[in-house]
């Protein structure tokens, strides 16, 4: 149903022609994100400050129109898509760093600040913002807060929720509320922790207070090269079991590394079956000792070679290879579907074997490039979206892989979020009681469902709609 023309006129009057889009060709640009999902909004607005956001929310209430927050649109689960149409609130004009407090290692930012821009603004003072999703050159901190984004270095430093101490929010009733603060704790319920990762279904974030970290004295990046995938996964299992925690431990399999190499020329050997990109950071002495241990274990587990990045240029190139891996897949296939399941690290080898088996059975090539150190898989199912017969088969294959992850004691998503992509898979992990309680909590913030409707929680509840079949003989879902 098209939006009330009066609402459109009022929004345009509020934000001016620079802050308002409603032409079909403009709306098309906002109907996708980084996932395979789509949702066409009715208009796009670009608030300049909190007052704009409040006014937009008030209009949405008056015209009973859905609202969806959006940062850079790099999300991988449809979190920022207008599943039921309505107004997309894009924060790209609210992109100011409001305060940098180097002494206390804090920054206050507007939600549209690009993740890497914050690090760039503080690196001359020896500081950085730790969450480092692969999209960090584009994605915004508001998006990171909504999705509780991770990245390779979350292995050592935690995800976004570990780096946000306070938020300013506009609730779907247009009230402005502050939760948390700048300090490491505040008395009362931990609302900041609850809000980070709520995928834009609780409130629109208008300001975030985040922690900054001091850059380590020394960094060393190792590339371990393997002729067999299971030697690489066994290395990760062995490192974990021995209690060696690098800052990052990433794996690329042969399929992915060849695509990346052709594109980035990072130095990944084309004839290898897998590589591990392992980084250690900290005091010089710690880096020296840890990298010696890691090199030894890689060797014991069958690495054919372990290289050290000689300088920051080589290091950057290796990371460029890793962070552009999804993009490089475009050289192999017109479309890909990325999964984000997590498993206990002891289960890496059987899980990768299972993924390979699923790929063969469905006739899809599946590449793997992932955060091996914390068991966060990213199988990439290569397919062609132009062939309408393929997507349903891709989704079925993905469902089998995710189901296997949950059977192994893992979860649906480690960092990409549930969004609209995985909402119907939620019953794999959660009971009706769990989901009802989550609905109740959402209703505290968003009682009318005006904000980012139809996300995270399954829609099919009790109506005999799409439901996931319970696993035959599966263990109880993990807590």
């Amino acid at each position: 149903m098209p939006l009330n023309p009066t609402l459109l006129r009022e929004l345009e009057r509020l934000l001016g022609p620079q802050g308002f889009l409603a032409r079909a060709e403009d709306l098309m640009l906002y109907e996708n994100d980084g996932s395979v999902e789509a949702g066409r909004p009715d208009c796009i607005v670009f608030p300049r400050h909190k007052q704009d956001v409040v006014a937009i929310v008030k209009l949405a209430i008056r015209y009973d129109t859905p609202l969806v927050g959006r940062g850079a649109g790099t999300g991988l689960s449809g979190g920022a898509l207008a599943r039921r149409g309505g107004i997309v609130v894009t924060f790209s004009r609210m992109n100011h760093i409001l305060e940098i407090d180097a002494e206390n290692l804090r920054a206050v930012v507007e939600p549209g600040v690009v993740n890497l821009d914050l690090t760039r603004a503080v690196e001359s003072q020896g500081l950085y913002f730790a969450p480092d999703p692969s999209s960090q050159r584009a994605c915004t901190i508001g998006g990171n807060v909504s999705e509780n984004s991770g990245g390779p270095h979350t292995l050592a430093y935690g995800v976004t929720s570990n780096h946000v101490t306070g938020l300013e929010l506009v609730l779907p009733d247009a009230e402005v509320v502050r939760v948390g603060g700048a300090t490491i704790e505040t008395p009362g319920y931990a609302l900041t922790r609850l809000l980070v990762g709520s995928e834009g279904t609780f409130a629109l974030v208008t300001e975030a207070t985040v922690r900054l970290l001091r850059a380590p004295e020394d960094v060393r990046t190792l590339l371990a090269i393997y002729d067999r995938v299971e030697d690489a996964t066994n290395t990760v299992v062995e490192l974990t079991a021995r209690g060696i925690t690098p800052a990052a431990c990433e794996m690329l399999d042969g399929c992915t590394l060849r695509a990346v190499e052709a594109y980035v020329h990072a130095g990944f050997p084309l004839d290898s079956a897998a590589v591990l990109l392992i980084e250690v950071e900290g005091l010089r002495e710690a880096v020296e000792a840890q990298s010696a241990e890691i090199e030894e274990i890689c060797g014991l587990c069958g690495a054919r070679e372990v290289r050290r990045a000689r300088d920051s240029r080589e290091r950057d190139l290796l990371w460029k290879g890793r962070k552009n891996a999804f993009g490089a897949i475009g050289r192999l296939s017109p479309s890909y579907y990325v999964l984000d399941g997590v498993i206990p690290r002891t289960k890496l080898t059987p899980t990768l074997l299972h993924i390979e088996e699923v790929g063969k059975r469905y006739g899809f090539t599946i590449g793997n490039v992932f955060h091996a150190g914390d068991g966060n898989l990213h199988p990439l199912i290569l397919f062609d979206q132009r062939d309408p017969a393929q997507l349903p088969r891709v989704v079925a294959a993905a469902g089998e892989i995710i189901q296997f992850c949950v059977e192994m004691g893992g979860t649906l998503t480690g960092e990409h979020g549930v969004g609209m992509e995985k909402s119907e898979l939620m019953p794999l992990m959660f009971s009706d009681a769990d989901l009802d309680l989550m609905r109740g909590v959402r209703a505290v913030f968003n009682p009318a469902g005006l904000l980012n409707p139809d996300k995270i929680l399954p829609l099919g509840k009790g109506c005999g709609e799409l439901r996931v079949q319970p696993l035959a003989g599966a263990p109880a879902p993990p807590a």
Partner: protein, 452 residues
């Protein structure tokens, strides 16, 4: 009333077995919370039993206070009502420990000391160090958001938490999170419950990440004549590339309470722990000695083994040691930015001088200051000065942008001063969340911030 008590106890006995419901004066008084006694103590053995008890309590509007080692029952405001003590210490099993994955699942009644031993047998640990460590349970530590010296390197209790199972005040068993180290599936209800002091749900399982024990560890103490010099040392450490496990500063009164050989009783001390490979520990020792010298610390010492264990235990047990020496002490917990610490310490000392109360101060350099106002037990007049001093300290801390709480204090003080800071404009959300989890307001009603 007697009749009602008997009937509640017998209905609980039907649910958990007669052996697990006690009403004797001794048992009941052990579960006293701020002068109130429950009519019965119920010791459930499973989440299913807890759900039944809570459904009964919700139907009868019986107020329930969940508890483990009973070490933190004095935290919070006095409950509005109190009918049943829910003693979770029978639920003391380690449900899963996967050393190769460094993950762990426990029931809420597992004692920290027991868990620490089990983990150490696999050369692992949970990076928490609660006060009352021999009695404290994991459920209680998470519910009360217990702080620890290890926070400096590893974050707080909630940062180790991966997932939780719990029973809401409506008697509904639910869960959130997971048992793997990374997960964003669903809302993080377990993070909301952490630190909620049993006012939203009863915890029935906790999943944590564990860490490998470091190969080497050493402790260092530098002492200084004045608080500002001690803070300068903390700041110098923060600005250096060093990555210590903990950095804690304390004043002479705290040193006397600790009675640890390594901390001079007439100066401010800063204790630092370093852990890791030998070369890393040695680097900390070299750099810290140099920084202490540059700040003209009269003393710098390095030690390990039993001496280190003793100092660490004293820091961990700060509230217990204070309360043993000064039972009517009021202990403030004030989270502040490091840059605010000099002003806060100056204010704390000034308030205490004005009211002729000695403060025992412990600074957790990561961002929490503890100040215990110490009225000698025999001095009734000094106890009378606690209330005005506490009000002033609350005001002074808030004036510096902090949101202080009085974590421990005598009941008499709670009648005069709210131990919680005034609620923020998010209080309406807190109250609505309370109604979602606990619609009949049966879980520890009134103990939490804003009267929740």
């Amino acid at each position: 009333m007697k009749q009602a008590t008997a009937s509640v106890a017998s209905r609980c006995a039907d649910l958990v077995g007669a052996d697990h419901v006690v009403t004797s004066a001794a048992d009941v008084s052990a579960c006293e919370v701020d002068g109130l006694l429950p009519s019965a103590v119920v010791r459930p053995g499973s989440a299913a039993e807890i759900a039944e008890i809570l459904r009964l309590a919700a139907a009868e509007r019986l107020a329930v206070i969940p508890m483990g080692g009973r070490t933190k029952l004095a935290v919070g405001m006095p409950p509005q009502r109190y009918d049943l003590a829910l003693d979770l210490t029978r639920m003391n099993r380690i449900l899963a420990f996967d050393p190769a994955d460094l993950t762990l699942g426990v029931e809420p009644g597992v004692r920290f000391a027991q868990l620490e031993r089990e983990l150490a047998a696999q050369r692992q640990f949970l990076p928490l160090a609660p006060a009352f460590a021999s009695r404290a349970t994991l459920g209680g530590m998470i519910a009360a958001n217990a702080d620890s010296p290890l926070r400096h390197a590893h974050g707080s209790a909630r940062d180790q938490l991966l997932g939780m199972e719990f029973v809401t005040g409506a008697g509904v068993a639910a869960k959130s999170g997971a048992r793997v180290v990374k997960n964003v599936t669903g809302y993080d209800l377990h993070q909301l419950l952490a630190g909620s002091l049993g006012t939203l749900a009863v915890i029935t399982r906790l999943n944590f990440r564990t860490l490998p024990l470091p190969p080497e560890e050493r402790m260092f103490v530098a002492s200084f004549g004045a608080p500002q010099e001690a803070l300068s040392f903390c700041r110098a450490i923060a600005a250096s590339p060093l990555q210590p496990r903990m950095v804690e500063a304390f004043n002479p009164a705290t040193a006397r309470i600790f009675n640890a050989a390594r901390a001079p009783a007439d100066r401010w001390s800063v204790t630092v722990a370093a852990a890791g490979h030998r070369a890393v520990v040695e680097r900390h020792e070299r750099d810290l000695a140099r920084m202490a010298r540059e700040l003209c610390a009269p003393d710098f010492a390095a030690f390990d083994g039993p001496e280190q264990d003793a100092v660490f235990a004293a820091l961990r047990e700060f509230p217990r040691l204070v309360l043993e020496a000064f039972p009517s002490a009021a202990i403030f917990r004030v989270a502040v930015l490091p840059g605010t610490m000099p002003a806060l310490l100056a204010d704390m000392i000034a308030v205490c001088e004005r009211h002729r109360l000695e403060p025992a101060i412990l600074v957790r350099a990561a961002g929490v200051v503890y100040a215990a106002l110490l009225p000698p037990a025999i001095d009734a007049a000094a106890t009378g000065r606690l209330a005005p001093a506490s009000r002033e300290l609350m005001q002074a801390s808030m004036g510096l942008g902090a949101r202080p709480m009085i974590e421990w204090c005598p009941l008499a003080l709670k009648r005069e001063v709210n131990i919680w800071p005034p609620p923020g404009n998010d209080q309406v959300l807190a109250e609505k969340l309370k109604r979602v989890f606990d619609p009949q307001a049966i879980l520890a009603p009134g103990r939490f911030l804003g009267g929740v």
